[in-house]
Structures are given as structure tokens and as C-alpha cells.
Symmetry: C2
Subunit: 266 residues, 2 copies
């Protein structure tokens, strides 16, 4: 780095990842020299591949259902229904995160079984092998309400602070930044996507220059940045909530207004 | 840069921005040498300051109302109501983007009047002054559903591609990436936030290494990545939609079930 700041670069030559592959060995085989404070952002798909999380494409809809805890919203377009769901990790994601891109023909991939555990294991392995205290994030590509396009976010974390908690610190004018908690993990994943690219086949990037965000392996993982439905203002899609409210309001009015004999009949 | 990839660095020494200030001159006064393809990510707040978009803090709630096109969701906590609204720019944002941090005591700041226009003007000025084809993004900090913390996104753009349209391109396995349109503008804003910081007073960062995303000044701006309510599955908060549905369902059942004489009475 010739100036202070952040340096973000992809690891070329990772090659195709196969079930059972050792990702620590694959990363080190690229010849990258990892430094203290480096943060590796690893496309979660290669972790899924190493973990053998393949499902036959014919079973894709069943796989999405199996990964789904709760339907949040859906839209049918040209006969195809797109489901946005809360998956078993608590994440709200289209198709529960089940992915058909960059997979062999006829197969789809589930998300890693436990992305935080996988990220911690990879960070631990790289720390042991290199002696450098590095952090690891697993990334996935998500759409979002209100804005077009997708961005990469962190779905697993090992040895990296997820959120830079500024509550209680002051701004330049001396005022307390009371509600500002930048989700640095998602910002790191986004920065990494700018050098990995979707089509280029470079599934791992290194972010160098924010070593202050690297810490012990038992730091909270990316599950800590998933907001539970009970604390979210958008826990159900608008159309679904309008429908549910309508049914409830209709039933309440019926119960109030129907004569007793009619009530018995319903 | 000693290796390929992205270099992201803040411009130190920008100083406080005052109404009427020339941002082109302030950026150049830092001594930064801008290169062809550099993307400057400018915290929208300093553009608001240069444009004199101050409103007295006592009028904050009225200012939010004035900037609001439509209430999307609200939550009352400890007697304070937080409003998530669609603002006049189409953006869905808490408090309509009206901001009280990093402002002089007693004042709040509105968003720039037309962030895309401001970004284009800044890009045009920097191109004219330096001869380097640079792009400009204006950034703001937004919360999002389902995930904790905030990330920086692009709310204005001049001479930068907002979305890398991969539709029709193929992945490593030769499959068409049919639905992948990474919002690179938001990813660039996120990357820049990692070097600017909220409390450090470095409101401008340069992202170097994605010159392929820089283009003519008449490229679509950040307004193009705002998704209209008519195409969004979360255009109204869940509680608000449940309430609205309930009222509609209740009224429909009443209309159906009430005897004629009772209908007249309501």
C-alpha cells in the first residue's frame, strides 16, 4: 500500500472447490502472504461446496421449503413464484439462499450449515498456519427492499467485529452519535464484491487496512446482525399483511354483527 | 497500489464546509492527485452544508413532514416516534434523511436538493479542473429491514454506473446469471465508509481501481436505484398494513352483513 487507507484484492487461482476440500490449504496455495489484521471475505458458495451442500436441482423448491422457517413475502411472475423467506439462520432472503448460479448443471447449493462456525474454523486454521491474526467473513448476495440491485453482505463471521458501535462517541460538533452503529461486516463484504465479481471466479478477497476490526475468534458472528422478526417493522410483506388484516377484520365484524343463529351456522 | 485491486482512501484536511463553499476547490485544496477512473464518494452532508440546507432543530419534525411524501412505518419508543418515510427523492429513510449529527448546535440538515445534480456538477467541475475522468457518488447512512446496524449507500451519482448489469452474462459453469444486478454504487459507498468513519471528520474518500464503472456524466444517477412503491413487496410497514387490512375487512363485512336500515345509520 502506497498510501494509508484500505487495500482490497482478490485471490486469483483458487480453482474449483470440491466436497471435502480444505479451504485453509486452498487459500494458502494461492501464495497470498497474509498479514496481521487482514480480513478475508469468502463467497459462502465455496464453503457450501467444500461442505458438500449439494441438492439436485429438481428438488430445488423442496429444498427451499426445507430451509424455510417462515414465508415473509412472495410474488408470482410469468407462472414462477419467487419466495422471500426467513430461513433456518434467521436471515430473510429470496429462495432461502438456495443458489443455482456457479453450480454444476443439475445441482443447486444450500448455504453452509453454520456459516459462523465455518468462518471461525477457517480463521482459526489460517491463524494457526500463518501466525497472522486474520479475520474471516462469509459473504452472500442479497436483494433488499426499496432499492434496485443486490449487494454482498456478511452471513458468517470469525474473529471480526460485525458492528462498529459508535453509541456514546461524539461527532465533530461534540454531539453524541446516539443511534449510529455501522454494520462494518456488511460494508466489508460489499467492498470485497467489487474485486471478486460475480462472473470472474475469484471467490476470496482480502481487505487490508482495518485490522482494528479483527479480534478474538469468540467475537459474535454474523448471526448477531440478523434482526429478529419480533424487532422488525417489516417482518411480513405488505400484500401478505393487508390480506391477513383483512381476514381478521372481516371475521371480527362477522362475529360482532351476525345474529346468534347465524353465528352457530358458521 | 502495489497489487491489483481496489485502493480506498480518505481525503484528510477537508475542514468544515460552509454555505456557498465550492466543493471542487475544497477537494483540490487537499492536494489529492486524482487519476482517470477514480470515484469520489462524498458524504452527502457536506453537500447539504455547501448548499445551505440548514433548518432550525426546533422545526425538525416539521422539516421531516415537509420532506415526506408518504409514511411507510413508524414506531413509538419512550414517547418518541420514529418515522420511516418515502421522501421527495423516492428514498425510504428514517426521518426522511433529515440529520442532526455533525451539525452545529440548534440546527439540522436536509438532504441536498437534487443529489444527482449535485454529484454531476461536482464530477464535471473536477473533470474540468484536473483533466481526469472521475466519477462522484454522494453517500448517506441508512438502516435496513432484517439486519442490524446501518450501511452507507449512494443517494447521488455523477458519471458512475450505478448497477453492474450481469444479466445475459454467464457464470463459471456457463449458466446465464439471469437475475444478478449488483448495485455497485451502494457497494462503493459502503467501501468508502470503511475509511471515512462517522466520527473522524473525513467526509470524502477516493475509490481507485474500478475505472470501468466511470463513464459519461449523463449516465443514470442514484435516483435510478430507488425502487418505486408500486414495484416493492415492502411498500408499507407490517403493522400499518395489518391495520389497514383490518379496517378494510371490517368495513367490507359490515357492508355485507348489516341490514339495510342499519347501513343507512352508519
Amino acid at each position: 500500500m502506497t498510501a494509508p487507507g484500505l487495500h482490497v484484492f482478490a485471490l486469483p487461482g483458487m480453482g474449483e472447490v470440491r466436497p471435502g476440500d480444505d479451504l485453509v490449504a486452498l487459500v494458502l496455495a494461492t501464495g497470498v502472504e497474509l498479514l496481521h489484521g487482514d480480513i478475508l471475505v469468502v463467497t459462502s458458495k465455496i464453503v457450501s461446496k467444500a461442505e458438500g451442500r449439494y441438492v439436485q436441482a429438481a428438488d430445488r423448491e423442496a429444498a427451499i421449503t426445507a430451509e424455510t422457517v417462515r414465508l415473509v413475502a412472495s410474488r408470482t411472475h410469468d407462472g414462477h413464484t419467487m419466495r422471500i423467506v426467513e430461513n433456518r439462520l434467521g436471515m430473510v432472503a429470496a429462495a432461502a439462499g438456495v443458489d443455482a448460479s456457479n453450480t454444476p448443471d443439475g445441482w443447486v447449493l444450500l448455504l453452509p450449515e453454520d456459516p459462523d462456525r465455518s468462518a471461525r474454523a477457517l480463521a482459526a486454521g489460517l491463524r494457526a498456519a500463518t501466525g497472522a491474526e486474520v479475520g474471516v467473513l462469509l459473504s452472500d448476495t442479497l436483494g433488499r427492499p426499496w432499492r434496485e440491485g443486490q449487494t454482498d453482505v456478511a452471513i458468517g463471521g470469525g474473529g471480526v467485529h460485525m458492528v462498529a458501535d459508535l453509541r456514546g462517541t461524539t461527532d465533530q460538533a461534540g454531539k453524541v452519535l446516539s443511534v449510529t452503529t455501522p454494520c462494518v461486516a456488511d460494508e466489508l463484504a460489499a467492498a470485497a464484491d467489487l474485486v471478486k465479481g460475480k462472473a470472474s471466479g475469484n471467490p476470496v478477497a482480502v481487505v487490508r487496512g482495518r485490522g482494528d476490526l479483527v479480534g478474538p475468534l469468540d467475537l459474535p458472528g454474523a448471526s448477531s446482525i440478523v434482526r429478529g422478526a419480533d424487532r422488525d417493522l417489516f417482518w411480513l410483506g405488505t400484500a401478505e399483511a393487508l390480506d391477513q388484516g383483512y381476514r381478521d377484520g372481516y371475521a371480527a365484524a362477522r362475529a360482532e354483527l351476525s345474529p346468534p343463529e347465524q353465528k352457530d351456522a358458521t
